[in-house]
């Protein structure tokens, strides 16, 4: 079977081999692609004439890059803005060459192009050597899952075809690629402008014994298809045909046969595959494998929806709520601890919060540093907490279901690979047999969590207790979850280190969530000083979460000092005291701010009741109507 595949892969019907051309701005990537097409006789004479004409119009001789740089903006500025693709054939196979921009402003477009390639050409200017985007691009190739790199040391004409200078640049590039564990297939001295060593050996570099660029490309092997790995079929949709429910999706890895027993993740239900459906009704298919888009039916009526994964029996992916990921960030606005975004992996989509930024990478030295924010084009390791468990894999185990994207403001903002996940794999959630709607009907309101954060002495407990009184008097089901009370019981094993505080909050959030699911309005009163911890709480609770910032100046709190704690903290008797010897991140986007320097207790409670009316008493928004 493998032998057959290899033959097919080299034959006429093989997929055009996708190669991306990357490297620092102006190092000659587009010129190289244009020249490669020209030197393999892939361009019609009219096209060459047209390139000459548009070059002459701009006072240039012939700019091969204009073949790819087709936009006026690109030609006028001599820079590639967006990635493009062009096809050509060598004597042995078809290629699709993906040209990527080198300017750092357009890194998102480089990623778009490179993510579709099976191998890369890294273009390095012989005079300039490794530059910032050379390194960043190489690092991203690795993250995007590419492993084979052909290095083109370009503009060899500009260094007088000097063998020693070439050797120095080659050594530097090889060293960097080695440290990334990328496979350097060849390093070739080329002149994209003059055509040396592109498709034919250059006469000006007699000292170069290696292949031409084209020769090096022809020697690359396509990566193996993931047939041998575990079955992963992310469910795209479920179609109804008569009584049949048909599950559709594309197989990321593995294979299956009709009759196989499968397990669905994350629900862990099992069934057998009854049939593979297709149109037109050809001979019934008996099996399918990675890469195929399929439609199938099961022999049992299971609940299936988009976002689930069909996996092999007893080989389902784990469900996780907390992910350690390696991330590349492409958005202009920085990513910070506490930020909430949409996360998509496979076909699943979930809200995620950034709980910690563990380290930010320096592509120059490949060293790491701690950081508070991840800027555009940065690579970092971070921890994400998801609003609900999602089935996924570690990237090292299964690439297709081990990587995902973050979405902010309607657009992809970053990509990540999963390095670690914490899970409760062997547990199955049991839900009470009463729906939220039923409880809301009885109580006259929905359940939810009012999360009050603020300094010690800001007035949280006073307001919270008054609020519970008011809500109860008007017939609502309300409960108080107070930080101090929790620490007397459930959380009495916890101290005040950062980790212990995070755990304190996680438990409070989980308890509040249980209350909310029972239909109660849970009023949580906790200092919760760190934005990341509060974001994690919001992610745990999900929809009904409202953050209320009980605000008071530190001096006010210290003057009030109801428990005498500030005085003791000042004397050094209490360590890690928020506001004195431990930080407090004031909420930047609280749902409600109660300023106790200005508001009376009654006014504060009025505002909260108003917010609660809005949040839990109004009719649910009507869901988006389907179909047309």
């Amino acid at each position: 079977m493998t032998v057959q595949l290899d033959r097919a892969a080299l034959g006429q019907d093989a997929r055009a081999f996708p190669i991306v051309v990357v490297g620092h701005v102006d190092h000659g990537k587009s010129t190289l692609v244009g020249r490669l097409l020209h030197d393999t006789d892939s361009l019609p004479p009219e096209k060459v004439a047209q390139l000459k004409e548009v070059s002459a119009k701009r006072g240039l001789d012939i700019e091969w890059s204009f073949l790819l740089d087709a936009l006026q903006l690109e030609r006028d500025q001599g820079i590639t803005v967006d990635t493009t693709q062009i096809w050509f054939s060598s004597a042995s196979r078809r290629y699709v060459i993906i040209d990527a921009p080198g300017h750092k402003e357009f890194l998102k477009n480089m990623v778009t192009g490179a993510s579709q390639a099976h191998a890369a050409v890294l273009v390095v200017d012989a005079a300039q050597g490794l530059a910032e985007q050379t390194r960043r691009h190489a690092y991203l190739l690795k993250l995007l899952g590419l492993s084979q790199v052909v290095v083109a040391v370009n503009k060899i004409d500009l260094i007088g075809h000097d063998a020693a200078r070439f050797a120095a640049v080659a050594a530097e590039v090889r060293g960097y690629l080695d440290s990334l564990d990328l496979n350097t297939a060849a390093i070739i001295p080329v002149s994209a402008r003059h055509g040396d060593n592109i498709a034919t050996p250059g006469t000006a570099t007699p000292w170069h014994a290696g292949p031409t660029l084209l020769g090096a490309l022809d020697a690359l092997e396509p990566p193996p298809a993931p047939f041998e790995q575990d079955l992963r079929l992310p469910v795209q949709d479920v179609y109804r045909q008569g009584d049949e429910r048909i599950i559709v999706g594309r197989i990321e890895s593995g294979t299956f046969q009709v009759g196989d027993r499968i397990t669905l993740a994350p629900t862990r239900q099992t069934a057998r595959i009854k049939s593979i459906e297709s149109w037109p009704n050809e001979a019934p298919k008996s099996g399918a494998r990675a890469g195929q888009s399929v439609a199938l039916t099961l022999d049992e009526e299971l609940f299936v929806e988009r976002g689930m994964i069909v996996a092999g029996h007893d080989a389902a992916p784990r469900s996780a709520r907390v992910l350690g990921v390696r991330l590349f960030w492409l958005d202009r606005s920085a990513l910070q601890v506490g930020d909430r975004l949409r996360l998509r992996i496979g076909t699943a989509e979930v809200e995620a919060a950034v709980t910690t930024i563990d380290e930010v990478l320096d592509v120059e030295t490949l060293g790491t540093a701690s950081g508070k924010a991840i800027g555009q084009n940065d690579v970092a390791r971070i921890t994400l907490t998801l609003a609900k468990p999602v089935a996924l894999d570690r990237y090292a185990a299964l690439a297709g279901t081990g990587r995902g994207v973050l979405v902010r403001d309607w657009r992809l903002a970053g990509g990540f690979v999963v390095e670690s996940l914490s899970t409760s794999a062997d547990l199955t959630r049991v839900d009470a047999p009463v729906t939220a709607a039923e409880r809301a009907q009885r109580n006259g309101h929905r359940g939810g969590v009012i999360w009050m954060t603020g300094l010690s002495g800001s007035g949280k407990s006073t307001i919270a207790t008054a609020l519970i009184r008011r809500l109860t008097d008007r017939g609502a089901q309300a409960a108080l979850i107070d930080g101090d009370s929790l620490r007397l019981g459930l959380n009495r094993d916890l101290g005040f280190s950062d980790e212990a505080r995070a755990e304190n909050i996680r438990r409070a959030a989980e308890v509040a969530k249980l209350f909310a699911e029972t239909g109660l309005i849970a009023v949580v009163s906790l200092i919760a000083p760190r934005a990341g911890d509060r974001a994690a709480a919001r992610a745990i609770v999900g929809d009904g979460f409202r953050e209320v910032y009980v605000k008071a100046a530190l001096q006010t709190c210290e003057r009030r000092d109801p428990k005498g704690l500030y005085a003791r903290a000042r004397k050094g008797e209490i360590a890690n005291f928020t506001g004195i010897s431990a930080p407090y991140d004031a909420p930047e986007a609280a749902d409600l701010v109660i300023d106790t320097d200005r508001l009376k207790l009654e006014e504060a409670v009025d505002r909260l009741v108003e917010a609660i009316d809005d949040a839990y008493y109004t009719a649910e928004r009507v869901s988006f109507a389907e179909g047309i």
Partner: protein, 264 residues
């Protein structure tokens, strides 16, 4: 899987993503070879019946053979057809070259359909190898309020995670054929026996390689009277596919301007 299997699987995946994530949605049916392949792929994706309308942006200037083809296959394929006439030439930007104004009628027809049917997504059968600005497109291409293509700042797209989220008032163009080449299209038409308008096949030494409106589409010299002959011809020629489309060649940036304005 051979290359056509791979392209087919990818296009089906794209079509199912579009339908799962964007509603209301419609598919543009230009009646050309590419859009017939696209309809075929959609029937495969949705197991026979396409669950959304197909829109023909009718300029009234198609060839009689093209209209006959449309009327026959609407019925045979069970399509839910929208065929509203495009606004007249007077409604287009008068600073555009004359031929481009004809094309601009379709852009207006497009905006009209989006507004009239409240569409959030439009599936269109453009390919990267047709034209250098199309080569820069995304599979899911968000459009601004006015339907314009912001090529300076396209969002990233990778790992088959498409940008299907869009702010209110904007829409998304979906391009399931972006990765196909002209030869791929013909090989697939042959493999699947997909019907096409007969004007593609040579009669008296001429055939249409790209099919547009009467007056702005020119036939090429060709003896290719069946699909194998067309494939052989395409493998031998290096002339571009859209050479017979007059509007592309008015000036260096003619096509770019059309596309920025919302043309396909």
């Amino acid at each position: 899987m051979n290359d056509l299997d791979w392209l087919e699987a990818q296009s089906i995946h794209i079509l199912r993503e579009a339908y799962a994530r964007i509603r209301p949605i419609a598919m543009l049916w230009s009646l050309g070879k590419d859009s017939n392949v696209m309809i075929w792929l959609a029937r495969k994706a949705f197991l026979g019946r396409i669950p959304f309308p197909v829109a023909h942006l009718d300029t009234g200037l198609e060839f009689p053979e093209t209209y006959a083809f449309r009327d026959r296959y609407v019925k045979e394929w069970g399509l839910d057809l929208i065929a509203d006439p495009c606004p007249p030439i007077e409604a287009t930007d008068p600073t555009l070259p004359a031929n481009a104004r004809l094309a601009a009628r379709k852009t207006l027809g497009l905006s009209q359909a989006i507004e009239r049917y409240g569409l959030n997504g439009l599936i269109a059968g453009i390919r990267r190898d047709e034209q250098a600005t199309r080569a820069k497109e995304r599979v899911f291409s968000p459009r601004r309020m006015d339907g314009q293509w912001d090529f300076r700042d396209q969002p990233p797209e990778f790992w088959d995670q498409y940008n299907a989220d869009f702010p209110p008032g904007t829409h998304v163009r979906i391009h399931p054929l972006l990765a196909w080449t002209e030869v791929d299209i013909w090989r697939y038409i042959q493999r699947e026996s997909i019907p096409v308008v007969p004007l593609y096949f040579a009669r008296e030494g001429k055939r249409y390689r790209s099919l547009g409106e009467i007056g702005i589409t020119m036939p090429i010299d060709s003896e290719a009277a069946d699909i194998p002959a067309i494939i052989a011809e395409l493998k031998a020629t290096r002339a571009p596919e859209r050479a017979g489309r007059v509007m592309d060649h008015d000036s260096e940036d003619a096509f770019e301007r059309l596309r920025v304005g919302g043309y396909l």
